[in-house]
């Protein structure tokens, strides 16, 4: 397995609070990885750092075949390099139709002038239909995204990520607020996506992580506490302590 993303010794503090503490992590291409951890473990900050929203104080992050450093690059540059991000709260553009949402995400030139003079090509239309089919929204293409149900919005957002065709997909709590059936479909979509690219899923819900059936990284106080299969990490005594929050009480 080739390494796609390599984080080493990354730290960041906010007003003296170390949100990420000497974190090192390697993601292969392709790979499906779940990142779990209690509240405040630094899961969101971890994503913010990779996507360029937060600048780390120290450490290196290398991405892709050419080992490009992501540090100092803007959010949009990083996104164009091939890193997509899905937020916890579904953020689609509600005033615009499902088709327009997907079209904006499709991999095409991103400069203002090429966008102004952009003409729909048969290729991108076909790709758009394909994605709509994958996320079960073919019948809703002309509806404003604001009219969709919560679960459909989540899918639309996943569809937009697929349209971006990233090499690395960061997904924040995809199963939040979904019905059991929707969860199952989400698992399928994520697994399928991970066949050709790297997918990092940040999740709270152990049942969902179990269904993903992949390597798990446990974050705690900004660093990696354990790594391995779900069974492996859940039998780790330090992980049990952290999750139960009784590490101090017992000693």
């Amino acid at each position: 397995m080739i390494s796609l993303l390599e984080m080493s010794g990354v730290s960041v503090s906010f007003d003296g609070f170390r949100a990420i503490n000497n974190l090192s992590l390697q993601i292969g291409q392709p790979e499906l990885r779940a990142v779990i951890g209690p509240n405040g473990a630094g899961k969101t900050t971890f994503m913010d750092i990779i996507t360029g929203k937060t600048k780390p104080d120290e450490g290196t992050i290398l991405f892709g075949e050419d080992n490009l450093s992501l540090i100092g690059k803007s959010e949009s540059e990083i996104a164009r390099l091939g890193i997509g991000r899905k937020f916890q709260k579904p953020t689609v553009f509600e005033a615009q139709t499902v088709r327009e949402n997907l079209a904006m995400a499709l991999k095409n030139p991103r400069g203002p002038f090429s966008v102004l003079f952009y003409r729909k090509s048969a290729d991108s239309s076909a790709r758009l239909e394909e994605i709509a089919d994958e996320i079960n929204l073919t019948d809703h293409l002309t509806r404003p995204a604001g009219e969709l149900s919560h679960g459909q919005k989540q899918w639309l957002e996943i569809g937009m990520l697929l349209a971006q065709d990233p090499q690395l997909l960061l997904v924040d709590e995809p199963a939040a607020g979904m019905t059991a059936q929707e969860r199952e479909q989400t698992t399928d979509i994520l697994k399928k996506a991970a066949e050709t690219r790297a997918v990092i899923v940040v999740e709270h819900d152990m049942e969902f992580v179990r269904r993903l059936d992949c390597k798990v990284t446990v974050l705690h106080e900004g660093s990696s506490l354990a790594e391995g299969t779900l069974d492996h990490v859940t039998s780790d005594p330090t992980v049990i302590d952290v999750y139960l929050g009784r590490a101090d009480a017992r000693t």
């Binding site: 953020t91 553009f93 991103r110 203002p112 966008v115 971006q164």
Partner: protein
């Protein structure tokens, strides 16, 4: 036919038809054609209104579509007016001075002519020297280029600095207010080179066209304003209909998300800010020859706030809404403040509309914001959907 520009934007056709009809009616009824049903001064008012509609659709694109509440677009409007005003004033004064010097036995040297023109223009601020910014005032084409270049460059530099630092929301609005205020205060100074608070005047008199009556001139400007509005409307309808239109609306709704899609949000904002500033400059260049005078008070911060009020009342995010808002409110405003509305005598108090109009405007702004957030244009949408 299903997916053409017009099919996707039926309002463009309706708008152009309505504007064409209106223009034809005014032309037929104007004094220039002999019918004389509409006075020349009212033709000017209508022509000016069309220019205000043009800057209003620019404002709608920058605010209603892209979400940047710029409270400084009237600065660009004013710069457009000053640019063309400088040429109008210079060229006309030059003709007058040359005529008056022609009778002398010894022909005047170019220096004497220049001094005499300077004296005429700047005597009012106690000077006769031409400031550096008047270097190209004798060239119509240079000043026309400035109508586009100066607002464009100012918007580009200002926008680049503001957007690059990720100034958004109310802070950006305050910054744009500061820009237009600073410009107005600078122009108020006598040594600003633009005649201080006197501004530029006599702009309604076109150089070398003394034989042409004001009725004809005003109709020509009215038609030019209508053409500019039509072209501006088409330009903005095309921009907002393009994929760029989708992106800027997405920036309005969630700019962080657009960044993570890989779009450089700042470039988009800069593009919209600059192109709308250029259109505002063009609108100003057509407006002030009809108004006849421009002075720094025109670009006071309140003017840009009015612009936002027009667009809000007309309905943000739809171009015809901005046109309706600007036309409706500015015409109503000149009716009330121009003594058109009869004062109401309540016995113990007389409601003077000159003073009370602003209260009425403020009240209707509050009511629109509360009860019709989509403005007059939103009511139109409801009618269309019902039928």
């Amino acid at each position: 036919m299903k997916n053409t520009f017009i099919a996707r934007n039926p309002s463009v056709l309706w708008f152009l038809a309505a504007l064409g009809l209106f223009t034809a009616l005014v032309t037929i009824a104007s004094e220039a054609t002999g019918a004389g049903l509409i006075s020349t001064s009212f033709v000017k008012t209508l022509g000016k209104t069309l220019c205000l509609c043009l800057i209003a659709i620019a404002m709608d694109v920058v605010w209603g579509y892209c979400g940047i509440l710029s409270l400084g677009h009237f600065a660009f409007f004013g710069i457009g007016g000053y640019s063309i005003g400088m040429w109008l004033m210079y060229a006309r004064t030059e003709i007058i001075v040359t005529e008056s010097l022609a009778g002398r036995t010894i022909p005047a040297t170019p220096q004497e002519v220049s001094d005499a023109i300077g004296n005429q223009i700047f005597g009012v601020v106690g000077s006769s020297e031409f400031p550096l910014i008047w270097a190209f005032a004798d060239s119509f084409w240079m000043q026309m280029a400035f109508v586009i270049l100066i607002p464009g460059l100012l918007a580009l530099v200002f926008g680049w600095l503001a957007f690059r630092s990720r100034v958004t929301g109310v802070y950006l609005s305050i910054l744009t207010q500061a820009m237009t205020l600073a410009l107005a205060l600078y122009l108020f100074q006598n040594d600003s080179g633009l005649r201080g608070n006197n501004g530029l005047s006599g702009l309604q008199n076109l150089p070398g066209m003394d034989d042409v009556s004001q009725a004809t001139v005003s109709l020509a400007f009215f038609l030019a304003s209508a053409a500019a509005l039509a072209l501006g409307y088409l330009l903005f309808a095309w921009i907002t209909d393009s994929k760029l239109g989708n992106i800027i609306q997405a920036i309005r709704d969630d700019e962080a998300r657009v960044r993570f899609l890989g779009y450089h949000v700042e470039s988009y904002k800069l593009f919209v800010f600059t192109i709308t500033a250029i259109i505002a400059g063009i609108a100003g260049a057509l407006y002030y020859p009809q108004a006849g005078i421009i002075n720094p008070a025109e670009i006071a911060p309140i003017a840009s706030i009015y612009l936002a009020v027009w667009v809000a009342i007309g309905g943000r995010g739809r171009l015809y809404g901005a046109v309706l808002g600007a036309a409706f409110v500015s015409l109503l405003s000149s009716w009330f403040t121009g003594g058109g509305a009869p004062n109401i005598n309540l016995g113990f108090y007389t409601v003077q509309w000159v003073d009370w109009w602003l209260v009425l405007l403020g009240l209707s702004f509050v009511l629109v914001t509360l009860y019709a957030p989509k403005g007059i244009g939103g009511l139109f949408d409801k009618l269309v959907r019902k039928s």
